[in-house]
Structures are given as structure tokens and as C-alpha cells.
């Protein structure tokens, strides 16, 4: 079986483009991340994850402004990193308030963090009131009327909020 020449060409073009971006912009990105994050290890991690994701970009060999692309990807990765740490810290803080504090196992740490990130992604697309309505309903078992009273909106609105959240739950589960 022969591989079409055009496919080989575009593969080579991609690789060549990636190498040139890596050589020109990796030191630059890492330096800027070090300045911004004030943490050498984080900067290295974010920079290398950024290039890993760049490698998966579809039209890499046609990319005109690699630095703009790099910054967008790096920001997204940084955002996830910060958010994950924040949630982890809040979770550990919460563990310590329990009557009998527990030290979570690595396994439970991993699973809880993953679940928290899923929940965070679902809530992230919702308004502040919709987030509250959803959690009041699902975690505290409040009725729509009680939630409506608490949030000073109509029960119909509460229903809408929760419906939005449920749709997002399904979408997150399908993804």
C-alpha cells in the first residue's frame, strides 16, 4: 500500500512547523509564564502541556500567529490548574472541619477532585442564581417554592434554572 504524497507532505509540513514554533517560542512562553505565575515548576508544566495541546491543533502548518494561539491555550491550562487547586484546598479545609478529621487516600483524592471538576464545569456555564438553585435542590432537597423564596425569584424561574443545570449535567455526562 502506498501513502499519497500529499499526505506525507502535509505531515512533514506539520512537523516542520511544530519544530520551528517550539524552538522559537518555547523559551519565550516559559519565561512569560514564570513571570506571570511566579513559580518555576508550574511555568514548566503549563508550557509543556501547552505545546502538547498545540500539537493536536488541526491546521498547525497554516498557523499564522503561533504566540496568540500559545497564549490562549496556556491561559486555559492555567485556569484549570488554579481552579483545581482552589477546589482541592476548599475540600481539604472542609475535611478538617469534620468532628473526626480524615486524611484522604490518594485514590479518594483523585476521584473527588475529578468529580469536583466535573461539577465545576457544569456550574461554570450557569448564572449565580441558577447555580444556587441547582445545589439547593439537589444537595439540600429544598422545594422549588423554598428556593424561590430564598433567591427572591418566581418558582417558574427556579424550575428554569434547574432545567438548565440538568441539561448541562447530561451534556457533561455524554462528553
Amino acid at each position: 500500500m502506498t501513502i499519497p504524497l500529499s499526505a506525507v507532505d502535509s505531515h512533514l509540513a506539520r512537523n516542520a512547523r511544530f519544530s520551528s514554533i517550539y524552538q522559537e517560542d518555547h523559551p519565550w512562553l516559559e519565561r512569560r509564564l514564570r513571570d506571570g505565575l511566579r513559580n518555576r515548576e508550574d511555568a514548566q508544566d503549563v508550557a509543556s502541556e501547552t505545546f502538547t495541546q498545540l500539537l493536536q491543533a488541526p491546521a498547525l502548518h497554516q498557523l499564522k500567529e503561533p504566540r496568540a494561539m500559545l497564549v490562549t491555550i496556556a491561559r486555559r491550562i492555567t485556569w484549570r490548574l488554579w481552579r483545581r487547586r482552589e477546589l482541592e484546598k476548599a475540600w481539604l479545609d472542609m475535611l478538617h472541619t469534620l468532628p473526626e478529621p480524615v486524611e484522604p487516600s490518594a485514590e479518594s483524592r483523585f476521584q473527588t477532585l475529578r468529580a469536583l471538576q466535573t461539577l465545576d464545569a457544569i456550574l461554570d456555564g450557569l448564572s449565580a442564581k441558577a447555580r444556587m438553585a441547582f445545589l439547593y435542590s439537589q444537595l439540600d432537597g429544598m422545594t422549588h417554592v423554598e428556593i424561590a423564596h430564598r433567591l427572591k425569584v418566581s418558582p417558574t424561574m427556579v424550575r428554569k434554572y434547574i432545567a438548565q443545570a440538568l441539561l448541562r449535567c447530561c451534556a457533561a455526562f455524554d462528553a
Binding site: R75, L87, L166
Partner: protein
């Protein structure tokens, strides 16, 4: 994958959500519960959809010990806290020295972090103004997506879905070295070229619309047919040809003001626009979709718009919970 875990049909999913809302809302009656049982057993698809919804909820909530998510605890606060401060900090990160990005697009404070690269996406009920790298402004209608490609010799926006109004920067700036190139807006059917002024571009299934709002706009179909539009004129086009030019079409951009204005157009047009602003579904029977409608309807309050339609058209609205509305023609009076 088992049948129960398979993605259910959209209608079964929405029905399951309605039942979840009904049963957990606190005012379900015995009749409701009986009706729910009947629904659940009426079809294996219903059972599967119900199970899928509950699995999705479990996936989001049940792994975490509920004791840790109490209303006043730090974990709940962290999940609920508006994330704007962090977002601002993040936007400042890597922009500090400024020299880097010629693109004003990156100044946009709300780059959706969920979408990679230069993609601008709006959700249901959202409109959004984006500053493009050349200083032009793109305003996206709800449920729209576009990406921008700017480089020396290249001034391009791909409108992937939905609609947008483009307003070109008044004069050349340092940000716009390529300003004597027209701004090209690509859709699935062809492209629109703008040299100045303001124009609306909209994607529909298999065809696109361009309306020149101020200044000229030029349509070029994929197969090369061209048409120049003067301010106020609009025309639909597909990959082959441009339809007849229509006069006084500026109202097509009324969504910028949160309204839809139609002049003797199919009801389906209005419903399509409302759907962009409303979670869930609006179904229109084929007979009703052919009704012609004129008027001005609010987009930001779709319930009011639907009521207005019901008052002015020979239609009935049937609501099933909050998520779907069915529109049909009224039965003829005996």
C-alpha cells in the same frame, strides 16, 4: 455500552428532565406520581432516559460526600463563587508587556475558556461584541460561533453558525496594517466582502443572508457569482447563486436591540429566532410554520413573544412543562 447508558433521544431526555423537575420540586401529587409511573413503563426508551439522567446527576454530585457540601462550608462557597476575579487575573497573565499581541481580539475580556484558539461562541440568549484585531467590531447573535484569522495580507472571519453584525473601523490604525484589504466573512455558501460601513451576515441551513446596513457589501458565492448590495439592501445566497435583492432589509439586525422584526415572513423564521434565546424546544407543526407573520417581538422575553404570536395568529400553544412548547394552527371555528 449497555442500552441504559446509551444517549437517549432528545425528546425522551427532555421528558425525563421534566419528570425530575416535577418530582423533586416539592409539589408533586399522587396523580403526578402515578402519571410518572405510567410514563416510565410506557416505553423502554423512557426507562433508559430516566436512568441516563440519574446517572448524569450521579456523575456530577454523588461521588462527593454530601457532608462536605453543606451550604455554609468552604467547598460549596468555592463552587458558587463568581470566578470573575480569577478570570481577570488570568486575562492579565501573559498580556503584561502588551507588545505581543497585535490582535485586539485578545483584549476581549470574555474569551470563552472552554473554546480553543480564536473561536467566539455565544450561548442561548447571549449576545456578544468582539473587538477584532483590525479594530473592527463583530457583534454575535445568540447561539452563534465565529473565528477570526488575521495576518498580514489576511483579514478573515469564518462565521460558522448563527448571525453577526460587522462594523468596520473608521480609519486605519496601527492595529490594522491590512486595512486596504476588504474584510472577508466566510460562510458555508460563500463570502461577504466589506470595505467600510456595517453589514449583517447570517447562516441558515444551506443558505446565507447578507444585509448591507451602512455602506456597500459584496456577496461572492462559492461558485463565483457576485452581487453588490447598497445600504439597506439584503439578499440570500447559496453556493451557486444570489437570490433577488430585497430593499429596506435593515430590520434583520433588530436582534442587536433584543428584538426580531418580520415583514410577512414564515412563522418558522420567528420561531428560529426565538429558539436562539430560549432553552428547550419550540416545535412548530408544518401547517403552522407556513403562516406568514409581521410584527416586532421581544427576544429577551420569549414567553411574552410567544403570547404575542398567540394573540395575533390563528395558532394554539401547548406547553409541556418549561422546556417545550408546541405551536399548531387552531382548529377552524365551526
Amino acid at each position: 455500552m449497555t442500552a441504559a447508558a446509551a444517549t437517549p433521544s432528545e425528546s425522551a431526555r427532555l421528558a425525563a428532565i421534566e419528570w425530575q423537575l416535577c418530582l423533586s420540586g416539592g409539589s408533586a401529587t399522587d396523580d403526578d406520581r402515578q402519571a410518572f409511573d405510567a410514563w416510565l413503563t410506557a416505553s423502554p426508551l423512557h426507562g433508559a432516559a430516566w436512568q441516563h439522567l440519574n446517572a448524569a446527576l450521579g456523575n456530577a454530585l454523588r461521588v462527593i460526600d454530601p457532608k462536605l457540601l453543606t451550604a455554609a462550608g468552604p467547598l460549596r462557597r468555592s463552587l458558587l463563587r463568581p470566578q470573575d476575579t480569577q478570570r481577570r487575573r488570568l486575562n492579565k497573565l501573559l498580556l503584561a508587556s502588551g507588545a505581543l499581541l497585535a490582535g485586539g481580539a485578545w483584549l476581549d475580556r470574555q474569551i470563552p475558556l472552554r473554546h480553543v484558539a480564536a473561536d467566539y461562541v455565544t450561548g442561548t440568549g447571549q449576545r456578544r461584541r468582539v473587538l477584532l484585531p483590525d479594530g473592527s467590531v463583530m457583534e454575535l447573535d445568540a447561539r452563534s460561533a465565529a473565528s477570526a484569522e488575521f495576518a498580514p495580507g489576511k483579514r478573515l472571519v469564518r462565521l460558522e453558525t448563527g448571525a453577526a453584525v460587522f462594523e468596520l473601523a473608521g480609519s486605519a490604525t496601527a492595529l490594522a496594517p491590512a486595512v486596504n484589504l476588504p474584510l472577508r466573512i466566510l460562510t458555508g455558501e460563500g463570502e461577504v466582502r466589506l470595505n467600510a460601513g456595517r453589514a449583517l451576515v447570517q447562516c441558515d441551513a444551506g443558505r446565507s443572508l447578507c444585509v448591507a446596513l451602512a455602506g456597500d457589501a459584496e456577496i461572492i458565492t462559492r461558485q463565483g457569482q457576485r452581487r453588490r448590495l447598497a445600504a439597506g439592501q439584503g439578499a440570500w445566497f447559496d453556493t451557486r447563486q444570489v437570490d433577488a435583492t430585497q430593499e429596506a432589509q435593515a430590520h434583520a439586525a433588530a436582534w442587536q436591540e433584543g428584538q426580531i422584526e418580520v415583514h410577512n415572513e414564515p412563522l418558522q423564521r420567528v420561531v428560529d429566532a426565538l429558539s436562539r434565546y430560549r432553552p428547550g424546544w419550540i416545535r412548530v407543526s408544518p401547517a403552522a410554520s407556513r403562516l406568514r407573520v409581521s410584527g416586532l417581538f421581544p427576544l429577551d422575553d420569549t414567553d411574552r413573544a410567544l403570547e404575542a404570536l398567540r394573540h395575533t395568529q390563528p395558532i394554539t400553544l401547548r406547553r409541556f412543562g418549561t422546556l417545550y412548547v408546541m405551536i399548531d394552527v387552531s382548529a377552524p371555528q365551526a
